[in-house]
Symmetry: D2
């Protein structure tokens, strides 16, 4: 940490800063001044709250953190890529993993036909929502446990691992009983109570980026999971909020290589939520993989105009097949290949 003092600070103010640093058990290092500005370097392990404290002292111009506030999520701490294993499907390795399915589980028939269709086209993980966060209290909020049971059943029948969102601490055990991956949604990325408790499970987690959170806050949310001992974290970029409102959100493709530079965690992309319009999903899906994403999360529905949620962003079976046929050569051009659907080895 570097403390930059005001040009006109007094010797007393410098001493007060230095004392505060030493009170915190760290070492203050005061060079003779860089230009007209006195810089105080702080040596030692980060102390929570110290930055704020120093910023509040008189004479201080700014406090610049040099080390990153996350540790377990950082590539410095853990240089090699993390690979999350989903019963034989590996996320974060050479293969591109496509997770697909309906926004919300609506019925056995809807889920089963969708699962078969996406698997036949090359998807390796089945997605589907049983608990849906909805902006309005009047919208469909999911089938709850009935939906979870359908997911587990169809996952078994098709031998696909299943990913579904968990919205509440009290649902974690139930969801974990049925699902292979616990998804934390965008609106809950900073629900720290939920992060703590999901971090205490040993289930793989899909952590969506909050729609107004920067990459550092996202990695700090991952840190909440990691610090509880859950190392199987997959990040998912799903669009951020900007002034441009033609599409629902702006897919932040920059974030893909940024995350890969800063962290060892695998990252996938969700072009369905990032755009909100089905015809934008294929180009954005291809772009994400071209930029280095380890996989995709895609909404597919047998009949989007009858969907109970997010119909306008869902691909039909035909459009999903078309996307997969474009994705295959593109992945190869990036020296990767699509993960192959395979029989799961359940413990």
């Amino acid at each position: 940490m570097i403390v930059v003092m005001r040009i006109d600070c007094s010797q007393d103010e410098i001493s007060r800063v230095a004392n505060r640093i030493e009170d915190a058990g760290l070492k203050a290092y005061i060079p003779h001044g860089i230009g007209h500005i006195v810089v105080v370097g702080v040596v030692g392990q980060p102390v929570p709250g110290l930055r704020d404290a120093l910023e509040s002292l008189p004479g201080v111009e700014q406090v610049i953190p040099v080390s990153k506030p996350y540790k377990l999520a950082s590539r410095e701490f853990h240089p090699q890529d993390t690979i999350v294993d989903l019963d034989g499907v590996a996320v974060g390795g050479d293969e591109i993993v496509v997770m697909a399915g309906p926004c919300a589980v609506e019925s056995e028939d809807q889920l089963f036909t969708t699962a078969q269709a996406v698997q036949a086209a090359g998807a390796t993980v089945l997605r589907g929502g049983a608990y849906k966060p909805r902006t309005s209290p009047y919208e469909f909020r999911g089938l709850g446990e009935v939906g979870l049971r359908l997911l587990a059943q169809v996952g078994d029948e098709t031998q696909m691992p299943v990913v579904t969102e968990v919205m509440a601490v009290e649902d974690i055990d139930l969801v974990a009983q049925y699902a292979d991956i616990l998804q934390i949604g965008s609106r809950n990325m900073q629900n720290y109570v939920l992060l703590d408790e999901v971090g205490r499970t040993r289930k793989p987690v899909l952590l969506k980026r909050g729609m107004a959170c920067n990459v550092q806050e996202w990695l700090l949310a991952a840190e909440y999971l990691l610090v509880q001992g859950n190392e199987q974290v997959i990040l998912c970029e799903r669009g951020i909020r900007t002034f441009e409102n033609y599409a629902r959100n702006t897919m932040d493709i920059n974030a893909i290589p940024i995350v890969q530079k800063l962290s060892h965690l695998p990252i996938i992309a969700d072009p369905s939520h990032a755009t909100g319009k089905w015809y934008l999903v294929p180009p954005l899906a291809l772009a994400a993989v071209a930029a280095g994403a380890d996989g995709l999360l895609i909404e597919v529905h047998p009949d989007p105009d009858l969907a109970l949620a997010d119909g306008p962003q869902s691909l039909t079976f035909d459009n999903f097949r078309l996307l997969m046929s474009q994705l295959r050569p593109l992945a190869e051009a990036r020296n990767r290949k699509l993960a192959i659907p395979r029989a799961r080895v359940k413990p």
Copy 2:
């Protein structure tokens, strides 16, 4: 709801739209076309999901909702202002209510001296955090129940109602036992499970705006509370996320008159979180009241550089007194007055 068809839509596509509307129990109204564009009007109560469904149909250019998606929170439904009564302190009436105190409860001494100081300067509600949502898992997260007890005790001693944040469904009963107002923080504004459950209590709620949520989403979050029967909702603007990063957030003063036009709920402002810098707090506090805010939420600390959280944005006692001395004539210039600290009438 108005459905605008593409210029080149077919008669079949129009019929399919009309049928879907009538299947939903509504009436489709197809005028002869406005310009080259066919417009389909939809008459009747909103049907959840219908907008998405229509948008997914072929031939549809756009679907324009005409009625607002929230109802109980709207001024159309409830024209007169809601006044939330806090044991004698009324929020949303003629008086400006100032809620002040430390970001986090740290000790009895810290809380009690702060409460006395802010009350002497004119604050009427005591704020203080016992559960703190922190971006990093390594920061101080609050004293928990110990903090709640201190809040209740100091609130009793000073006869001030107490506001504090509740972060988790499982803490609601406990927090409600000690606090007079349940605060829902910015990061939890779209934690719908929490909104549902807080809506089931009969405690006044302070609903902070999500830092990337627009006014409509904020009013929809209030709708979650109202629909559960809790009508004592106070909105709190606390800054939104923008490209400008000199201050922590950009206080959206526009939102104050916008909310007052759209909704009957009282609205206060939190310039401490909106700016993150103590020297910006007074001008923004005054601006919020000038724009029509019903109150303020201000962080005050006996010694900001020793604060365990958010020191740089906390006012000292002296600075808080100075702000209050500026606020009084300003409130009068707007034909309002500061609420007077008074003995609470506990039931």
Copy 3:
């Protein structure tokens, strides 16, 4: 400037950084390392381009500028407030200066009745556009020189200084002949060719903030004017672009005290463009003055629904009078008063 090296940088990389600094005529100062990180301090006057160069060198983690990139606009360089004198109306002193008039000059009658009405209500400067930047090429783009002549004529008749926008270098002489203040619009805040040339005039300048520019970029645009010798610069906050789209822009009230801390230049606010809706103009105008603005720029039209530009954000005469009656006590509550319309002393 502080250069932070990567943890794993080599001695060679450090030397290369130091050499580059010394090649630029500055002094590199290398303490023994702060934590595990080597910091190189750079002592001496800023050298253009050096930051970019250092950032491009291997082994460099980040380069942190410590001194501000603007100088003439900074309060450090020029501690006392700048007061811009407009023939007897002083902007930046104790008085609040209200500039009002139609968005676009449409006719002598429209301009003259508006000027009389706003002056009677307390405005001291007349605004009106003769050259209008319009998002669409099909909209009304102003009367050009005819409009300028009307402005000068009505300014003379009412003894009000006149502010109007200049959009092109080739129009500067003409506009300067008729106007008392040259306005640089939001879309041209980074039109550096225009800034250079307006900086070469000796007319007061009203520099609007670019709608996506941060405060630092805004002060750098002012620096372009100042460095050419024009010291009569008034800044004008007019709303920034954010995700919230109920109003046209988000008025950044934070920016008012931020600018006053960083710079000596006066700052006024334009709530008409910041909101785009007439009913939001009065609360935002009051908020801006409460936050410390030195004046306001307000659109007023005799018949907003007949306006050739920006009708929805224009106040009627009655609404403007009402605003002024609210503004007067509010200014006094902030220990300021409205500037009094007075006879100009033309040289």
Copy 4:
């Protein structure tokens, strides 16, 4: 255009709206009401200013434009793709056109070696700035006419068309004399005087997106060029301003398929300015082409740490070669191929 009246509007207010529409020479169409809301349809060619006028009338809730505000730029008006021909290099057809070169022209040697290197690696157009818009007045602003001459000379020697920015109306003739493509920079996208005049030339134009402009405003800026008769417009996405500040801007990849849906104009991407960091350029370049971009604009410098502008975002020759070797198979996977450097046929 659809005018939605307030639920409680009077018959008089409806008549006033209808009269205003008919005064403008259009036809008002009033169905019996859709729900409780009266809708007034407006039939006929758009009338500038009418929307604002109607929005200002009493009783009006909102005015919804149904037709797009741009015409010549729209795909409805011009369904087939526009292909811009640059002396044998076609932008907007099957081929991917890579434009590369230094940010700023610094010397003959710098430009010539860079041109040779990028051409050898597969670039077909040479970029280089002679007039540089710089945020600070103290930075290097380009060699001006000397730079233009060097560009033309090196373009001739290497047989590459040349693209360079024009910042001022008075420079257009000069720049047009030397350059093959006139670039309008991000900061000038809404400099309408410049757009008018560049539209009057018959040179191909590269129109960069304003960093805070939405797609509609961008297409309206293109409309300014098209309406003057210049049909050779290439759009260039270069990142937008968001709250995320790890990279300089957020590349809006969504915009690529959105533009292709709304407009017939070719679109390329500039990952150098969109990211500001050289190591993010390759993944974003690949992503843009995967999403359907017709080309790329890439900054390359023989020695980025010696660059006079934008060194941190410039690729070295080696890194550019590596990118091109990744781009080739990726373009093929999207059924496109890289344009082949070829001898120009100058008229």
